[in-house]
Symmetry: C2
Subunit: 221 residues, 2 copies
């Protein structure tokens, strides 16, 4: 398709698509003449990735990091995924020291393999340090339950990750990390609301069908 | 204790404590003379709340909203909690329309009680719309699994919520929402890393003790 058709199919203004092309966020099309080129599904997917990351508030330079990783494969898919995910927010400064004692303790308690060079370890350390600052401590019961349920969520994420090609896998992993985090945090707030409505009582909330909550307790055993 | 002792106990600079006092974020102490006042554990807890929310990037005006809700109890604890949580980021604009079709569909599928006036519904709608923009769709399998595991996490959150007083409950609910979200998202990224290291192979990661992961599959049944 032509660039104008690409823009239309993605529902984006043509100048934006051209801008992404100039900035190297969208890979060039295949030239069909001196002044025109043709684009395909890879370009549609790439624009979806760039737009989704931009909508999450990622600065262009960080989106460029992700895109360059997707376009320049490394030997090790695992390392590549790590670098791509590290380009996503939150951007944590190393104020907690280089050895991440709180994060290590939690990860070792859960028996998880981790690479301290990856950004998520610093993010976890920062989040646990913020808890301490507020006078809270994450006890073993919470660590175990969060660890178990988050692991189950992550297992499904990986199971549903497309494996058509290395490029598609890395793109989907980045999108899935960036886009499902706000879904999960909103779902947790709404689960609190649902449970609190029943605990503390509440006026006139719309109830939606039967409530399957009682069965959930089985899972906690 | 005196204000200087309060600042020391919280590890905060005295001018910051005085600033929070002037801005109404910290409630006044009990006057002991024309020029001095005494402070107690409530002030220590309040400074912890204000500092934790500020560290999450909340603007002072939003922190003030939370603090005013804590200090001015309403009839309905449930409604009060909803308003306090709504003061937390992300701040979503109503660009998706007032009826939140995607969020409603998900919540009704899960059989959850919800109040569409509460901010988390708009946040969920916004997050689901962002998925669609990127060409992704949250299928029933993912909705069911996320719903089940997030609900279990939320049940534990409410179980561990202190109920000493209404003020302590609301403060802890706000803190728990704001501070455990980054813990959960970092834990999910690290669970991905743990699982991906085993799926895709990886060079020289430190392994930490025995890996209990195989048992987790039982939970998915």
């Amino acid at each position: 398709m032509r660039i104008s058709e690409l823009a239309e199919r993605c529902g984006m203004p043509l100048p934006t698509v051209k801008y992404y092309l100039r900035e190297g966020l969208l890979m060039p099309g295949v030239a069909t003449s001196a002044t025109s080129a043709t684009y395909d599904d890879r370009h549609v997917r790439r624009l979806g990735l760039v737009r989704a990351l931009a909508a999450q508030g990622l600065p262009l330079e960080k989106i460029k990091t992700v895109v360059e990783l997707v376009d320049n494969p490394r030997d090790d898919l695992f390392v590549e995924l790590g670098h791509a995910i590290a380009a996503l927010p939150p951007y944590v400064e190393g104020s907690t020291g280089p050895d991440y004692p709180r994060a290590r303790r939690l990860l070792e308690h859960l028996g998880q393999i981790y690479d301290p060079r990856f950004a998520a370890v610093a993010q976890l350390e920062h989040a646990l340090a913020a808890l301490e600052t507020a006078g809270l401590r994450m006890g073993h019961r919470r660590i175990d339950a969060y660890g178990r349920h988050v692991r189950a969520i992550a297992e499904l994420d990986l199971e549903l990750l497309p494996t058509d090609s290395r490029e598609i896998t890395v793109e989907a992993a980045v999108l899935g990390t960036a886009l499902y985090e706000p879904v999960l945090t909103a779902m947790r707030r709404l689960a609190h609301q649902h449970l609190a409505a029943r605990m503390f009582g509440s006026g006139d909330l719309p109830t939606t069908g039967d409530d399957p909550a009682p069965n959930d307790h089985q899972e906690q055993q």
